[in-house]
C-alpha cells in the first residue's frame, strides 16, 4: 500500500517536472492549443457582458436619445463634407507622390481585434485579443487604439494573441517628446491604469526640456514600434536623488483599463504569411482608409 502511494507521488512529480521542462516550442504549441480551445467560451462570455452593459447604458440614456440623435446627424453632415475634402487631398497627395516618384515607406496594415480577456493570474498586465497568427498577428508587434499606443504582442497562437500593456514593468518603449525632441526609454510601473501614472522615463538629463503635459510619441528607434505613435502625456517630472537626472511620470493616451477593441500593426509579410498558412480564413482587416493606407 505504501509502495503504491510512493509510485503515485513519483508519477505526479514526474508529470509536473516534464510539464515544466518541455522545450519552448512544444510548450508554446500546447499553450496555444489550449488557448484556442477556450477562446470561443471567453468571447461568448465577454459578448454577453458587453450586451448587458449596452442594455444598462441604453436604459440610463434613453431620455437623451433625441438630443443625441440630432447631434449625431449634424456630425454626419459635417463629417461627410470633411470626407469629400479628404478624398480630394488624398488624390492630390497620390498624384504628387507619383510625380516625385515617392515610394511608400510604411508597408504596415492594421488588424482589428476585440479584447476578450485579461491576464488570468495578475502577474503581468496583458490583454487577450481575438485574432492570432491566422489573421496576420505576429509576435512583437505594436498594439494601438484610436487614442494611442497600448502595448505589444507577446504570445501569439493561431486564433488569439496576448498583448503586454504599456503599464507592465517589463514593457519598454523607445519614446520622444514631441515638443522638445528629447529621447528616452519608457517603462511601465504597474500602477492602476486610468488613475495613476502608468509609466515613467528614467535618466532624462537634468537640463532636458521636459514639462507637465508634454506629448510623448514613439521614436521608432529599435524598430519594434512605428515612429510617431502617440503614447501619452507627462504627468509630472521629478529630479532623482543624486540630482543628475530627472524622471518623467506619464499617463497613457489610451485608457488601458477600458480596452474593448485594439489594432495590431502588421507588416505585409505578416499578412502574406497568414494567407499562406490558411488562405481560407477571414483576415479581419480594418475597413476603410486604415486598411488601404499606412498606419497612423
Amino acid at each position: 500500500m505504501k509502495d503504491r502511494k510512493w509510485i503515485a507521488l513519483s508519477a505526479v512529480a514526474l508529470a509536473v517536472l516534464v510539464m515544466m521542462n518541455l522545450p519552448d516550442a512544444t510548450s508554446q504549441r500546447v499553450k496555444g492549443a489550449v488557448r484556442d480551445g477556450i477562446s470561443p467560451l471567453q468571447a461568448a462570455l465577454r459578448g454577453g457582458v458587453r450586451e448587458m452593459q449596452d442594455i444598462f447604458r441604453y436604459m440610463r440614456g434613453w431620455r437623451d436619445l433625441a438630443l443625441e440623435n440630432r447631434a449625431l446627424t449634424e456630425e454626419i453632415v459635417y463629417l461627410r463634407g470633411e470626407m469629400r475634402m479628404a478624398r480630394d487631398l488624398e488624390r492630390n497627395n497620390q498624384m504628387l507622390r507619383e510625380l516625385l516618384g515617392f515610394v511608400r515607406r510604411s508597408p504596415n496594415r492594421l488588424v482589428s481585434c476585440e479584447v476578450i480577456g485579461r491576464d488570468s493570474t495578475g502577474w503581468w498586465q496583458t490583454i487577450r485579443l481575438d485574432q492570432g497568427a491566422h489573421s496576420g498577428v505576429m509576435d512583437e508587434r505594436a498594439v494601438i487604439t484610436a487614442d494611442g499606443l497600448v502595448g505589444r504582442t507577446v504570445a501569439v497562437s493561431a486564433r488569439t494573441a496576448d498583448a503586454l500593456l504599456l503599464s507592465d514593468p517589463t514593457c519598454k518603449v523607445a519614446v520622444r517628446l514631441s515638443r522638445s525632441g528629447v529621447f528616452g526609454v519608457m517603462s511601465g510601473v504597474g500602477a492602476k491604469p486610468g488613475e495613476q501614472p502608468v509609466a515613467r522615463i528614467d535618466f532624462l538629463l537634468k537640463d532636458a526640456d521636459v514639462q507637465e503635459g508634454d506629448e510623448i510619441v514613439t521614436s521608432g528607434l529599435g524598430g519594434l514600434f512605428p515612429k510617431g505613435l502617440l503614447v501619452g502625456h507627462v504627468r509630472n517630472v521629478e529630479p532623482d536623488e543624486a540630482g543628475l537626472y530627472q524622471t518623467a511620470w506619464l499617463n497613457s493616451a489610451a485608457d488601458l483599463g477600458r480596452l474593448e477593441y485594439a489594432f495590431v500593426v502588421a507588416t505585409e509579410q505578416d499578412l502574406e504569411q497568414a494567407v499562406m498558412e490558411d488562405s481560407s480564413v477571414d483576415m479581419g482587416l480594418v475597413d476603410g482608409r486604415a486598411a488601404e493606407g499606412e498606419t497612423p
Binding site: 517536472l17 499553450k31 489550449v34 477556450i38 485579461r118 503581468w124 492602476k192
Partner: protein, 166 residues
C-alpha cells in the same frame, strides 16, 4: 460523473478568471476561481481527483497567461496538499472555516508561484511586494472560496454526485 462536474467547474473557473480583471489593490492578485475548485476537490474527493484537477487547472491557467507551463500546477498541488492535510481541522460546512482554509491555501499557492517565477527570472518581486500579494490573494480566496464551494456542492447535490466527507 465526478470527472465531468470537475471539468465543468475548471472550464467555468478559467473563463471567469480571464474575463474578470485582477483586483487592483494589494499586489494585484487575480480572483482565484481555479484554486477554489482545486481546494473543493482536495477536501471533498479522493486524492486522485485532486491531483488531476490541480494538473488540469494548472495547465489551463498557464496556457491563459504568460506563466511557463507547469508552474501553476505545482502551486495548485502545494495548495491542494495543504487543504487535504488540513481538511479535518476545518469544518467545511461553516463558511468562516472555508474562508480560513481558502486564505491559507491561496497565500501558499501565491508564495510558491512567486518563488518559482523568481527562480525562473520572469517576475522579480521584492519580499514586501510578495507578502502583499500573498495577503491580497488570501483576501480574495477568503471571499470567493465559500461561494465557489457552495455552488459546486449545489450542482453536485443536483446531479447526485455529492458525498459527505466532512
Amino acid at each position: 460523473m465526478t470527472l465531468l462536474v470537475m471539468i465543468f467547474w475548471i472550464l467555468a473557473g478559467a473563463t471567469l478568471q480571464v474575463v474578470i480583471p485582477a483586483w487592483q489593490h494589494m499586489g494585484q492578485p487575480a480572483f482565484p476561481f481555479l484554486l477554489a475548485g482545486v481546494l473543493y476537490v482536495a477536501v471533498n474527493k479522493k486524492p486522485v481527483y485532486f491531483v488531476l484537477t490541480a494538473l488540469l487547472s494548472g495547465l489551463l491557467e498557464d496556457s491563459l497567461s504568460l506563466v511557463p507551463l507547469g508552474y501553476s500546477a505545482c502551486a495548485f498541488l502545494v495548495a491542494g496538499w495543504l487543504a487535504w492535510r488540513l481538511r479535518h481541522d476545518f469544518h467545511m460546512r461553516r463558511a468562516h472555516m472555508v474562508m480560513g482554509l481558502g486564505a491559507i491555501c491561496a497565500a501558499a499557492s501565491t508564495g510558491t508561484l512567486a518563488l518559482l517565477l523568481r527562480l525562473q527570472g520572469s517576475v522579480m518581486l521584492s519580499r514586501n511586494e510578495c507578502l502583499l500579494r500573498m495577503a491580497g490573494a488570501a483576501v480574495l480566496a477568503a471571499v470567493l472560496a465559500p461561494v465557489w464551494f457552495w455552488l459546486i456542492r449545489g450542482m453536485e447535490r443536483l446531479l447526485g454526485t455529492w458525498e459527505d466527507r466532512a
